[in-house]
Symmetry: C2
Subunit: 257 residues, 2 copies
C-alpha cells in the first residue's frame, strides 16, 4: 500500500494492509514525542477505564500505544457489548455513540494510551487539509470495520464468529510478526463473548468444539496455532479482515506534527 521511496512494489498481490514502517515496528508510535503539552500518556491496568465526557467534536483522541483495549458499551441492565477492539496503533476519537449511552475505553490487558487534546488548536486544524484528510481516513476505516461487524453479528452463528475472531488474530499477528509461531489470545472468555455477542459459556463450548475439529490447536489457555489457515477461511463466509497496524496513527502524526 505504501511504497518505500523510489523502490518498486514487490509482489503486492496479498496485501497485508500495513505500511513498511508498521511491518518493521518502527512506525509513528516509536517517534511519539512525549513531552509536548497537548499529549498525556496514561497507563491502564487490565480492566482500567477511560470514560468519554464530551464535547464530541473529535478534537480529542487517544492512540493505543501499548497493549489492547476495547470500546465498550453497557445498557442500564448491565448487558455489555464490546463495540470494537483497539489494538496497538489504533486511534480512538471521542464520539463513539450517542452521548447518553454509557461508553468507554477499557484495557483488555496492560495498556498505554496517549491522549491528545487539540482543542487549543482546534480552529486552525478545522481548516487544515492534511489534518482533515487524516481524521477522515481514520474514521472511514473504522466505519468499514464496523459495518463488517454488523454483518457478522447479524448473520453468523457462534462457531463462525469464534473462528473468524481467531483467524483475524492469526492474520494480524502473522502480518506484524511473521516469525512468531503462535498466536496469543489474551482476552478472557467473557471479553470474547461480549465482543462476539455471545456469552462466556458458549464461547468456551465452541472453543472446545473447534479444538476437537483440529482447525485450531491450543498450546495452553492463551496461545494457539492454526495449522491450516485456508481450511478456516473456507469455514467462514466472509473475508478475514486485514490489520492496519499503526498506519492510522502514522497518518495522523504526519498530519499535525
Amino acid at each position: 500500500m505504501y511504497d518505500v521511496a523510489g523502490a518498486k512494489k514487490a509482489v503486492p498481490a496479498p496485501d497485508s494492509g500495513l505500511c513498511d514502517g508498521c511491518r518493521q515496528g518502527v512506525c509513528a508510535l516509536s517517534h511519539l514525542q512525549k513531552d509536548l503539552p497537548d499529549r498525556r500518556f496514561i497507563n491502564l491496568a487490565k480492566g482500567g477505564r477511560l470514560e468519554a465526557t464530551g464535547p464530541y467534536d473529535c478534537m480529542q483522541f487517544w492512540i493505543v500505544t501499548k497493549g489492547t483495549a476495547a470500546s465498550c458499551t453497557t445498557f442500564a441492565d448491565g448487558r455489555r457489548q464490546i463495540v470494537g477492539i483497539e489494538y496497538t496503533g489504533d486511534v480512538v476519537c471521542g464520539l463513539m455513540s450517542a452521548p447518553s449511552t454509557q461508553h468507554w475505553l477499557e484495557a483488555l490487558e496492560e495498556c498505554e494510551v496517549c491522549q491528545f487534546d487539540l482543542t487549543r488548536r482546534a480552529n486552525a486544524l478545522r481548516h487544515d487539509p492534511e489534518f482533515l484528510a487524516a481524521t477522515f481516513a481514520i474514521v472511514h476505516r473504522r466505519l468499514t470495520v464496523s459495518q463488517d461487524r454488523i454483518s457478522m453479528l447479524g448473520r453468523l452463528d457462534s462457531q463462525e464468529r469464534v473462528l473468524l475472531f481467531l483467524a483475524e488474530l492469526v492474520q494480524r499477528h502473522t502480518a506484524l510478526d511473521p516469525m512468531a509461531p503462535v498466536t496469543a489470545l489474551s482476552m478472557s472468555r467473557e471479553d470474547i463473548a461480549d465482543y462476539l455477542g455471545l456469552n462466556a459459556e458458549t464461547v468456551s463450548r465452541v472453543l472446545t468444539r473447534i479444538k476437537k475439529s483440529g482447525l485450531v490447536k491450543f498450546l495452553n489457555r492463551t496461545e494457539y496455532v492454526m495449522p491450516d489457515f485456508e481450511a478456516v477461511r473456507r469455514r467462514v463466509p466472509v473475508e478475514i479482515p486485514m490489520p492496519h497496524g499503526a498506519c492510522n496513527a502514522r497518518i495522523l502524526m504526519e498530519a499535525f506534527k
Copy 2:
C-alpha cells in the same frame, strides 16, 4: 473530554438533530442542480440495485433524494444483512466494506438517487478543507450509527429490536412531519428481518405480540401509531436514535457547490 473513571458526565440537551432547513423541508435536496456534468439522477424501482464499483476513494457518492434504500451485503451462501437504512437525504459513499464482499444499495421502495462522480475534481477536493470537513462529518455520523447498531445486534433480543426499530421510525417521522398522525412501515417483513438480524417469521410473530401488548396499533399492514411513546422507550434499554434528515446532504452541498 475524556477522564479517568468516575468523572461526571455531561447531560446533553435534547436535540432533534435536524437543521432548521431540514425541519422545514427546504434543505439542500430541493436546490440540487440537476444539469451539472458530475451528477446523474437514477430512479430505482423497489428492489432495484446500485452496485458499488471501485475505486474506493470516496470520490463517488450517492444521495438518496427520494424514498428509502438499504446498504446490503450478502454472503456466498445467500445470507443477507442490511447494514444500514438510507433515508431521504442520506449520503452513501463508495467504500462500505471490503471490496471483496458483495455490497450494494437496494431500493426498499420507489427511490431516486443522485450519483456524484468527483473523480475529475479529486485532486483539488483532496486538499479542500471545506469538502474534507463535510465528508468527515458524514462518515463520522455514519460511524456512530453503525456502532449503536453493533450493540443492538449483539445484545438486544428480538422484541427489543423490533420495538426499537418501530420507535425509531416514529421518532423520525414526528421530527420531520409532526402533523402526520400515523407512521408508515414500507419495508417488508423480510427486509425488517435482514435489518434486525432476525428472520421474517420471527418479525411477524414479534409484531403480533407487540400488537397484543397495545404498545403499537396497526391501522393496516403498513401504517401504525404508537399511543405511548414513553412506554416503548422504557421497554428498550437504549436511546432511540434521532434522525438527521438531509443535514448530511446539506453539509456536503455547501462544501463543494
